[in-house]
């Protein structure tokens, strides 16, 4: 994986998490800092439950309703994998995880992440972003503060601009 940017602008230096490459047919996964794809987790959830360091990786098409019965607090990390940066489903999925499933742990964006959309990802509730290289990390960092304010409410700021500040009438 490439460098990982945190939403406070720092780079996450000691990051161990790796996408688990095995599938359902490969038997129970060995110990390790894995991000499990949903089918693997589903198949082995009983065996995996209780492990100390668990993480999920969802694709953007994932239906958050499947998580209704799952204790999300057991995951240190949930990743959402963007096949293409233009797939906005990942944004709504993040919002649903935060707002409807009340997931509090780390939410990470992986895959085809464009530095220019970092401020959107942050506002949808992502904490960390895997980018391609140091140059993109620098660009992504700039985009963290590209705007001083936004009009609409977001996960990070549940109040729209007009509730946050007093906008002067004419």
């Amino acid at each position: 994986m490439g460098p990982v940017l945190k939403r406070n602008g720092e780079e996450l230096s000691a990051d161990q998490w790796v996408l688990y490459a095995g599938g359902v047919d490969d038997g129970p996964p060995p110990n390790g800092d894995w991000l499990f794809a949903w089918p693997v987790w589903e198949a082995y959830s009983e065996k995996l439950a209780g492990r100390d360091r668990l993480a999920l990786c969802l694709d953007t098409a994932f239906d958050a309703e499947k998580l209704a019965q799952v204790d999300l607090e057991q995951f240190r990390l949930i990743g959402i994998h963007f096949e293409t940066f233009q797939d906005g489903r990942g944004l709504s999925l993040a919002v649903e995880l935060r707002k409807h499933c009340h997931y509090q742990g780390e939410l990470r964006a992986l895959g085809d992440i464009l530095p220019d959309m970092i401020d959107y990802l942050v506002r949808c509730g992502f904490d960390t972003f895997v980018v391609r290289n140091q140059e993109e990390l620098a660009e992504a960092r700039k985009n963290l503060s590209v705007m001083d304010h936004y009009y609409s409410a977001s996960v990070t700021n549940p109040r729209p601009l007009f509730r946050n500040i007093r906008r002067q009438p004419l």
Binding site: F85, Q86, D87, G88, R89, L91, S92, L93, V95, K99, H100, L114, D116, M117, Y120, R123, C124, E135, E139, K142, N143, V146, M147, D148, H149, Y150, Y151, S152, A153, S154, V155, P158, R159, P160, L161, F162, R163, I165, R167, Q168, P169, L170
Partner: protein
């Protein structure tokens, strides 16, 4: 008019700087074409057949004279001296340089304008009735709600990467001039029993290759829930709209696949989860926005309506102009004037820098410095004293903006087509001109009565041909440009989609075929029946016979 405060200004200024960096990175090769493409589209920039094209937002069609002067300046400084007003009330420039695009945006920001989200798969410029706030048949002024939606949708964290583009229109008058039935979301706003504004929400309407009339999924939504409800609709669409096929990605396909009832239920479920969040507008904010749209204080001016009626009957240039280019104002003594961008030979919707500056001057003199852009690609002066009409006519005539046939057959709505657009199947501007030249007899045009003729150069339907009383669509037949004609479309409150008459025609045939259709109407109409009413009574068959002969089966 809405005036930016420091926050609005900061948003557009910072956006300009962001786009400047992005353009720079692209030119330096640090952003690939594929990565830069959606970024430039989100800032209104297309790569067209001949040069980059930029679409600039004119929120719900409202312009100040200062802003229009800036649009003129941009035409002169960066383009070939003209711009094209589109059917979605925006303006487009066709001959730009990529390197200069950030400078154009910076110039626009100086007059509180931008090109944010004017293309790409995001929520586009919100459109409204061009007569909002001044029309005599208005229930509620739509503009404050348009501005509310504009701000909510600008850089919304979740909805900038939708399956496809998304268009919202709001209408607050008895006659729907905003074509809300054919928008992704169409909002009808009216006053409830206690005077509070309520919304009926229609979804899944649209033109393009699968034209559909929108379905109402919620009636009587109170304004304090508007944003959370819109957010619920958008979330369902963003999650479940198709992304595998761009021709099936609009919300109308999702609504049709699920059925409007199921779609409505899903939205309702989502909405219940979020309706008590803080997304929704406060009364204070709504009042703040509404204050920007308070009607100007118009000094009393004598009512000349009876005299004008008499003048209209005179077969003078002025009389014809009065007859077609006026609309009744809320305030007695005043009138709404259409300045036509349809002079014969002028590509519909095009205006030169000189014309734009001329209109800005006219607005300063005669219309409280205010201008509107229309869905029919004309300009409007919304607050003209009836007593000023002779002077306004004279000024418009000097600028070539007094074509006296607004609302008639010659007031053609037309997309840029094959002359500019890289998606086109056929040219559209020359067809518009050929039809205008063929039917240039004012008496005949007036005898034909109200007629919407719309031309699109391809199935994307930017010329809204499906909802023209007569629609013309450019098609590609063995690499030749052909034209398919449809009849009976309509975009107002009893909206309908046109029916194709039959096999398509060559460009040379089109004016004759239109003539045959019009003759058929004149032969069959009852006394005061309009073209649309007559068509609805007699159906398509008589027109088919007129065009193809009695034996043709299609």
């Amino acid at each position: 008019m809405y005036k930016y405060d420091q926050y609005d200004q900061r948003v557009v200024d910072q956006r300009v700087e962001q786009f400047r960096r992005q353009t720079h990175r692209y030119i330096e090769g640090k952003l690939t074409e594929e990565e830069f493409r959606p970024l430039r589209l989100h800032n209104g920039l297309y790569m067209q057949r001949l040069a980059p094209m930029m679409r600039i937002a004119i929120p719900y069609g409202l312009l100040s004279s200062e802003q229009l002067r800036m649009l003129a300046l941009i035409a002169r400084k960066y383009d070939k001296g003209y711009g094209h007003f589109s059917t979605r009330q925006n303006i487009q420039y066709n001959w730009l340089l990529l390197e200069e695009a950030p400078d154009i945006l910076a110039d626009l920001a100086r007059v509180q304008m931008h090109a944010i989200q004017t293309s790409g798969n995001c929520i586009r410029n919100v459109t409204a009735d061009q007569y909002s706030g001044v029309a005599h048949d208005e229930n509620v002024d739509a503009r404050p709600y348009c501005e509310l939606v504009r701000q909510w949708s600008t850089f919304h964290p979740e909805f900038d990467w939708l399956p496809r583009k998304f268009k919202i229109a709001i209408n607050g008058a008895q006659n729907d001039r905003a074509a809300t039935d054919v928008h992704d979301i169409g909002l009808d706003i009216y006053k409830g029993e206690d005077g509070e504004p309520l919304f009926d929400v229609k979804v899944g309407g649209g033109l393009g290759r699968t034209p559909v009339i929108g379905r109402c999924i919620r009636k009587g939504l109170p304004v304090q829930h508007l944003l959370s409800y819109l957010e619920a609709v958008m979330r369902i669409y963003n999650r479940y709209g198709r992304r595998d096929n761009i021709y099936k990605a609009r919300i109308k396909i999702l609504v049709r696949a699920l059925g409007a009832e199921v779609f409505a239920r899903q939205v309702e479920e989502e909405w219940l989860k979020i309706r008590d969040d803080q997304i929704d507008v406060t009364e204070e904010e709504l009042n703040r926005i509404a204050r920007h749209f308070e009607p100007p204080e118009l000094e009393p001016s004598p009512d000349c309506w009876p005299e004008l009626e008499a003048e209209k009957e005179k077969k003078t240039a002025y009389g014809f102009w009065l007859k077609n280019n006026l609309f009744r104002h809320k305030v007695t003594g005043y009138v709404i004037v259409t300045l036509s961008l349809k002079a014969i030979g002028n590509p519909p919707g095009d205006a030169t820098d000189v014309q734009m500056e001329g209109v800005a001057d006219m607005a300063d003199l005669y219309s409280r410095s205010e201008i509107r852009t229309t869905h029919e690609q004309n300009l409007i002066l919304p607050h003209v004293r009836q007593t000023d009409l002779p002077k306004v006519f004279e000024a418009a005539r000097k600028l070539g903006l007094a074509a006296p046939f607004t609302g008639t057959l010659a007031d053609i709505v037309c997309c840029p087509g094959g002359d500019f657009c890289s998606l086109a199947n056929a040219k559209s501007i020359p067809i518009a001109e050929a039809i205008q030249r063929r039917f240039d007899d004012l008496d005949y045009l007036h005898d034909l009565g109200p007629l919407d003729l719309n031309i699109s150069g391809c199935m994307n339907a930017c010329g809204h041909h499906h909802v023209g009383h007569i629609g013309i669509l450019g098609v590609d037949k063995k690499s030749q440009e052909f034209y398919q004609v449809s009849l009976g479309g309509n975009s107002t409150q009893d909206s309908s989609l046109g029916t194709i008459v039959g096999p398509s025609f060559s460009s040379a045939e089109v004016p004759d075929k239109i003539a045959e259709i019009l003759e058929c109407y004149i032969d069959r109409r009852h006394s005061k029946e309009t073209f649309l009413e007559c068509y609805r009574r007699i159906g398509i068959e008589p027109f088919r016979e007129a065009v193809y002969g009695a034996s043709t089966k299609t």
